[in-house]
């Protein structure tokens, strides 16, 4: 067990390092924008309506908040300090709303959409892939190209087409948003049904694309496993097919877990754009609005939250993986 603790600690320090790198990029890159974005923005957002004195006040408050008058590294520490205090700053475009508040409103929607969609897509995709590998024949011959095609349709293209066909053309589903504007959010049945109605299309479009990619990966892994020496040996010992299939499924599944960890970033990225297509009120749409209005604090807040969530999910996957795969455990033993 102490070995396992060490494994966790080791993984944790890696993710911490990755997080700091993400933090640094988050801090650095928007600062490389040429010119003085703040003055441009302040004048843009408050144009005409207020006195130049008021503009100057807002301008100064931004300068102070970001410590823009201080040396570079002081700015960085101010930034890191703020982030660790849980303060993501103030939005330019929705001044004086804090980025924290905007994120707190958006994040639950994103988690609610993406987490179940990715998990469902992952499970169904793996089952289909394994099935195609065992069954071969027609099932495989049809499933494989279909999965490959779905996998090559980008998330957002599928989303747009689903939205057009089922939302606009057939009118089966609403054409956007997380819930109807006419309803007030509450824990009432009509509202929940309404939310699920809005949920369906974005959910299914993420699920479908995830299934495609996962089925292909699993099929390959399972075919590979089916051709390994231990399968031949088990067969030569007269072991039944069911038992052998259970071995193969398990062993092919394990790399798929790491596969999930690695492709999670891409999946989340794709799903964020899916949100934009459906106007779903999550981080993706927030980010999109931030980009359109050059709201740097909002952009930074969104990318940071995305990076943090993906890193955390990866860390959890790593721990789960370490718990269940003896190949890793044995490697730890060998390594020590």
């Amino acid at each position: 067990m102490r070995k396992f603790t060490r494994y966790i600690l080791q993984k944790f320090s890696w993710y911490l390092l990755a997080f700091f790198l993400a933090l640094f990029l988050n801090f650095l890159l928007p600062r490389l924008v040429p010119g003085d974005p703040i003055s441009v923005l302040v004048s843009q957002m408050m144009s005409g309506a207020v006195t130049s004195e008021a503009q100057e006040r807002v301008y100064q408050s931004f300068i102070q908040e970001f410590g823009l008058d201080k040396p570079f590294f002081v700015q960085f520490f101010t930034y890191v300090g703020n982030v660790f205090k849980g303060n993501l700053g103030t939005s330019f475009s929705l001044y004086p709303l804090s980025v924290n508040k905007i994120m707190a409103d958006a994040l639950p929607w994103t988690l609610f959409l993406q987490f179940p969609a990715i998990i469902v897509g992952w499970i169904v995709g793996n089952l289909l892939g394994a099935f195609a590998a065992y069954r071969k024949g027609n099932f495989d011959r049809i499933l494989f190209p279909v999965a490959l095609f779905i996998n090559s349709v980008p998330y957002y293209c599928l989303a747009i087409i689903l939205l057009y066909v089922f939302g606009v053309y057939l009118r089966w589903f609403p054409i956007g948003g997380g819930y109807s504007r006419t309803l007030l959010p509450s824990w009432s049945w009509p509202f929940i049904v309404d939310v699920l109605h809005h949920y369906f299309l974005p959910f299914i479009s993420i699920v479908l694309v995830t299934i495609g990619g996962q089925a292909i990966g699993m099929r390959e892994m399972a075919i590979y496993e089916l051709n390994t020496d231990y399968v031949t040996y088990c067969k030569m010992l007269g072991m039944g097919d069911r038992k052998i299939q259970s071995y193969v499924f398990r062993n092919a599944m394990l790399p798929q877990i790491t596969g999930l960890a690695i492709s999670l970033g891409t999946m989340v990225g794709g799903s964020l754009i899916t949100e934009i297509v459906f106007g779903y009120p999550g981080i993706g749409s927030t980010l999109f609005n931030g980009i359109r209005r050059l709201d740097y604090p909002l952009i930074q807040g969104s990318t940071l939250i995305i990076a943090l969530t993906v890193l955390a999910a990866n860390f959890i996957i790593d721990i789960v993986y370490g718990l269940i795969d003896p190949r890793i455990k044995a490697a730890q033993v060998e390594g020590s």
């Binding site: 890696w14 993710y15 390092l17 990755a18 790198l21 993400a22 990029l25 988050n26 890159l29 928007p30 600062r31 490389l32 924008v33 590998a133 071969k136 490959l148 095609f149 996998n151 090559s152 349709v153 980008p154 957002y156 293209c157 747009i160 087409i161 939205l163 057009y164 939302g167 606009v168 053309y169 054409i175 390959e220 075919i223 590979y224 089916l226 051709n227 960890a261 690695i262 999670l264 970033g265 891409t266 989340v268 990225g269 794709g270 964020l272 754009i273 934009i276 297509v277 980010l287 999109f288 980009i291 359109r292 740097y296 952009i299 990318t303 995305i306 990076a307 993906v310 890193l311 990866n314």
Partner: protein
């Protein structure tokens, strides 16, 4: 030569290559022959497909068909450029890490792993947001430098497995330098593998271009498949039922990616026969 012949026996590879070459030639020959400006506003907003504009017009009244061809060309250029850059970086890092082992490997591998877990999408957004102008070359470069870790990781594993081979030992005993060994004794053995990785990187370059364009961070002053989609979305073509504004670019992206994936699968079956039952 032998492997090339084998490749041309794979129906998947042939089909993939066929589609890709067709799209590629269309994208590069059509604009050279028919001199039409994709930015020219020729009609009204969202005119339906007709004999005049076979794919109708977009939100600015521009000819979607002309845009589509030019967009395809842009996307292919960006994708290929990103693919070259990502493959070059990934292969270099992967080869060195795998061949050298030890500390060099530890450092390079750690860097790779860190860049694998930070979503490339995030880095992509941060970089493009801070660029004032995003030319084709810049876009390709940025897309390339955010997607190399996959290749590095895969190539490292291959290079590691070759390190102990006899011919590599011989070259080392003959006093060949590290770079010489890597180029002469290791790279040739994984060329097919590198090519496969390149094909996948081109696909991912095209996909990512479209993705980042959807966020409004696409290449400036050109039409690409991604910017077409992004305009279509921004100007409510979906909700107003103007399917011709978004279906053509969406299908084209899918078709390009599909052809590349199909090529890759065909090659995989030829080069890794154990995958086949």
């Amino acid at each position: 030569m032998e492997t090339l012949k084998l490749l041309f026996k794979s129906p998947k590879f042939i089909a993939g290559l066929g589609i890709f070459v067709f799209l590629f030639l269309t994208a590069f020959i059509y604009p050279a022959v028919v001199d039409k400006n994709p930015f020219e506003m020729v009609g009204l907003m969202y005119e339906a497909p007709s004999s005049r504009y076979i794919l109708g017009t977009d939100n600015f009244g521009r000819d979607v068909f002309v845009e589509l061809i030019h967009g395809m060309k842009t996307s292919l250029i960006i994708g290929l450029f990103a693919g070259v850059i990502a493959t070059a970086i990934g292969v270099t890092i992967g080869l060195f890490a795998g061949y050298k082992g030890g500390t060099v490997d530890n450092i390079l591998n750690s860097i790779t792993n860190i860049f694998l877990v930070i979503p490339p999408f995030v880095i992509l957004i941060l970089i493009t947001v801070s660029l004032r102008s995003r030319s084709l070359a810049v876009m390709g470069l940025v897309l390339g430098i955010t997607s190399w870790p996959w290749t590095a990781r895969a190539v490292r594993a291959q290079s590691m497995s070759l390190r102990g081979r006899e011919h590599v030992d011989i070259a080392r005993l003959n006093g060949a330098s590290v770079v010489e060994i890597i180029i002469r004794e290791i790279m040739p053995y994984i060329l097919s593998y590198i090519f496969m990785a390149f094909v996948l990187q081109v696909a991912s370059g095209i996909l990512n271009e479209a993705g980042i364009s959807m966020l409004g961070l696409g290449p400036s002053n050109v039409v690409s498949l991604g910017t077409m989609l992004s305009w279509a979305l921004l100007f409510e073509s979906v909700r107003s039922g103007a399917w011709w504004a978004f279906v053509p670019p969406a299908i084209t992206i899918a078709l390009i990616t599909f052809s590349l994936y199909f090529m890759n699968t065909g090659m995989d079956e030829i080069f890794n026969p154990r995958l086949r039952s």
